[in-house]
């Protein structure tokens, strides 16, 4: 029915199956939209935030999706600026994942502010000394860049490409993509860093506060570095999941391996720097304000020292060591483990730097405050995941997201003429006896 829109040389499931597949994320998205409307119309009393937790699940979600969305700018940098052509196989997908992450972050921010209709004040009345201002500007500008990087892919849809203007526009955009990628890397460097600065500059909050270089606390550099390091792991993870779901090999091994290798070394460098930063903070910065390290990790039901060990060792050094060895990268299970751990690690880092910062009592006569999000907060946080699945599914079906898909999955002559009837893309839960993508 929609075969005219499907890229040439690839197989897609029948339309009814595709629509059925969209049912589940669609329902979740509707639930999220309902919660979002509740927040907009009834206000933030729909959340479990309070005056001790002005920042909570949403700000964590923002920081986390932007961190894992860092794969887009870093792959773009490697592909267009450093000319790593091996990434050609995965760059479109990295851009799409980045686009989903950044649009989600902007959406969550729009729900998170108390007066959404005044959101533009952050631009209009900008306080250039605020880390959040820098985040807002660079994030929005970088979202424009991601849109620009995503548009040529849309223009490559079989039908759109037939329009001469669009064909040429897409071609021209490809030609100067390096300029956009460089601008994107510049913007990403600053907004990833500023997000780190958000907690790092809080000199009234000893758990978050860090010294630094000029106006930038060390967390500024750690955040940029960790996003560049762990972002590609998220790109690999989503690619692997997509391959499982579609039961196809979509990206060439050398692209994944190259990205994994770079990521591994980046994580190793990051986690070493993070260790030094933690050491200095625990022995110099915090004690100068009257806090011992264990003050931050005791007398409360949740935040124990385990969280630091999990973040730095289990989700830091372990994935780094797996990914820097050729054996680890080539072993499918080890690769899966490493990318999952790296993604969990960077998300955990964002969690403690938002939530634990606020949980730690600073006044001596106050206590730890714990927080559990309301269902409205959870629904609006899951909303981007559902939206992401839908956008990936639609893009995968109608756009040549994976340039090597046809080459990696040659069509059998008999099925080639009728792509509509070739039912392949059956959405199946992972782990239902599928053929592993690597096999």
């Amino acid at each position: 029915m929609d075969s005219a829109l499907i890229p040439k040389g690839v197989k897609r499931a029948p339309l009814w199956q595709f629509i059925l597949f969209l049912g589940a994320p669609g329902t979740v998205a509707l639930w999220g939209v309902y919660a979002m409307l509740l927040c907009w119309f009834k206000g933030l009393n729909q959340t479990n935030m309070n005056d001790a937790y002005g920042f909570a699940l949403w700000i964590w979600a923002d920081l986390a999706v932007i961190a894992v969305g860092g794969g887009a700018f870093f792959s773009g940098l490697l592909r267009y600026i450093f000319g790593k052509d091996v990434l050609k196989s995965i760059i479109n997908y990295a851009v799409l994942i980045g686009f989903i992450c950044y649009s989600s972050a902007l959406l969550i921010l729009a729900i998170d502010i108390g007066q959404p209709l005044r959101g533009w004040f952050i631009f209009w009345h900008a306080n250039v000394h605020s880390m959040l201002t820098e985040v807002a500007f660079c994030l929005s500008a970088y979202f424009c860049v991601l849109t620009i990087e995503y548009i040529p892919l849309i223009l490559e849809n079989r039908q759109i490409d037939k329009v001469p203007f669009f064909h040429k526009l897409g071609h021209n955009m490809h030609e100067i993509m390096a300029v956009f990628a460089a601008t994107g890397a510049f913007l990403s460097f600053f907004h990833q860093g500023s997000l780190g600065g958000v907690a790092g500059v809080l000199y009234g909050r000893p758990f978050g506060f860090r010294e630094g270089l000029f106006i930038w606390p060390w967390t500024f550099f750690l955040y940029t570095w960790s996003a560049a390091a762990c972002g590609p792991c998220f790109t690999i993870l989503v690619t692997k999941i997509t391959e499982k779901v579609t039961r196809k090999k979509l990206v060439k091994d050398d692209a994944i391996e190259f990205l994994a290798k770079v990521s591994g070394w980046m994580i190793l460098a990051y986690i070493t720097a993070k260790t030094i930063d933690t050491w200095y903070w625990a022995t110099v910065t915090a004690p100068s304000k009257g806090f011992a390290l264990m003050d931050f990790y005791s007398n409360n039901p949740f935040y124990g020292i385990w969280i630091l060990i999990v973040e730095v060792v289990v989700c830091g050094f372990v994935p780094a060591l797996i990914l820097i060895t050729a054996k680890g990268r080539k072993n499918n299970k080890a690769l899966w483990t490493a990318v999952i751990l790296a993604v969990v690690g960077v998300c955990l880092n964002r969690w403690v730097m938002v939530l634990q910062v606020l949980a730690v009592p600073v006044l001596t006569f106050e206590n730890w405050v714990m927080y559990i999000p309301s269902w409205q907060e959870i629904a609006t946080t899951i909303l981007p995941v559902a939206y992401g699945i839908i956008l990936i599914a639609v893009s995968y079906r109608y756009l040549p997201v994976f340039p090597h898909e046809a080459e990696l999955n040659p069509l059998e002559p008999s099925t080639a003429p009728e792509p509509e009837s070739a039912a392949v893309e059956l959405p199946v839960e992972p782990g239902q006896g599928l053929i592993p993508a690597e096999a």
Binding site: L44, W124, S130, Y203, G204, R205
Partner: protein
Amino acid sequence: MKKDKRYGMVIDLDKCTGCGSCMAACMAENNVPFREDESNKLLSITWMRVYKLTNGKPFPETDVCYLPRPCMHCGGQHEGHSPCVSVCPATATDYSLKTGIVSQIYTRCFGCRYCMASCPYHARYFNWWDPVWPDGMEKYLNPKVSPRMRGVVEKCSFCFHRYQLAKEKAYIQGRRELAEDEYQTSCTQACPAGAITFGDLNNHKHSVYKDKKNPNAFRLLERLGTNPKVYYISSRAWVRRAGDNYLRNEAKPAKAVQHG
């Protein structure tokens, strides 16, 4: 040229009985909204909040101290770099170099709550709901103070509207300077024990100028570098020590911190 004003407060904790008059006076003066159920204190807006401190010792050594906490109007390490003012993305909170008062512009605030995350004193509050006044109460609201809408942050302003009124009056009378008693916050006036004194910390004629130099004076969380303008006095060492964080093996502050 006259020195700029640095309005501040000195609260004598030995005098405070914890009666809460300051809190009530503040709520009435500043049209602070409240709800029917105020049992969750993490959702209550209290520009002035009285904390109860104990020394943690069993009877008969138990000792209690009540500590009223308004906004500290922090100056920061270089004047104006308050924890909250420096982070507000929309310039909705401002540090006045003329008065040293940290203001909040309600119509400018878009409710990101970064300032709340930055404030170690929990002196900033978010309007989770639109204010709803009991029937007829809107007639008793203070016409000099604008009520706040849902979705913005608010906090103690050192009754800035009273400063503006006093300045206007002085201007009409051809004066530039305010006498100490012309500008006083409502909590100061409401305290039956006279525990709160308010005035210009830079003006040697004002009692706060002298009181802040009391050997038993201290400020909350000074080690963070917030440079607050609210001083506390207590003759009890454990209360002074409760004003800041110290490492377990750290010697007690030899003497309450002095400020010039």
